[in-house]
Amino acid sequence: MKRYRARRARHQEAAELNVTAFMNLMVVLVPFLLILAVFSRITVHELNLPGSGVADDDPPQLQLEVVVRADRVVISDRRQGVLQEIENQDSGYDIERLAEALVSIKTQAPEVDRATILLEPEIDYQSLITVMDTVRGTAPHGSEEQLYEALFPRVSIGDAPAGDGGPET
């Protein structure tokens, strides 16, 4: 019996795996796969479509419109007309000034939470999303403070009125 056990013990020792080579492989492979992994996450912007059943109980005193044209962004109120025009910079839309203007409008009318973005047909989708981010109130390029949190979260989309910018510049 003793002899049998001794033999079995010796047998088990022999069966032990040498994992060193495997560990070396893993040490290389894990960081490599982590580098390859794409840390992008898909999220969505929900839209308020006109006529989606949300009743306009009482129209707020400010009906904010952000008109995106090829060369500028115009902030206007449906009743008062143009509030501010923001010319493009060389790099494209002046998102920072747009955000500042929207923040100052929001401080004057804190109860307003909806806005309409009106676009010309040739505006590309990325610009739409960037402007929408700004109007919603999430700072476009992650400005230091979350100052712009929740400006006008209920965003609708529409067509920009024809003509080049309404009132003269």
Partner: protein, 122 residues
């Protein structure tokens, strides 16, 4: 949260939006063609040339998707548009109009979330 297939042909615009996508019908608007649930339907260039607001093949495909939904879900039917960042608003507008025409009352636009520079994402 829904697993949205990342597609080679569609480069989503970047945004800081944080709403997670839900299980919905998906419309891909790539630079060259439009697909519903990965089935190609129309070419994007053809749509740009045409002038009609409603894209017929897309509407038919969406209507049949709507019929596949359980009756309770039809009232609040949702659709997610995965649009390439380069497509003009003109095309997007027609796709959205077609979605509402087909009976989808909730439209979401899919974007790639970018980390705000200050904080870290994920």
């Amino acid at each position: 949260m829904q697993e949205i297939p990342s597609s080679r042909q569609v480069e989503l615009p970047e945004s800081v939006a944080e709403t997670a996508p839900r299980e919905t019908v998906i419309v891909h608007v790539a630079a060259d063609e439009i697909l519903v649930q990965d089935r190609p339907l129309a070419s994007t260039d053809g749509i740009r040339e045409g002038s009609e607001l409603i894209i017929e093949p897309l509407r038919d495909a969406l209507s049949s998707q709507l019929n596949n939904l359980p009756p309770a879900a039809r009232q609040q039917a949702e659709v997610t548009i995965l649009g390439d960042r380069s497509i003009p608003y003109d095309v997007l507008r027609r796709v959205m109009a077609t979605c509402t025409e087909a009976g989808f009352s909730q439209v979401s636009l899919a974007v790639t979330q970018t980390a705000p520079e200050g904080g870290d994402s994920l």
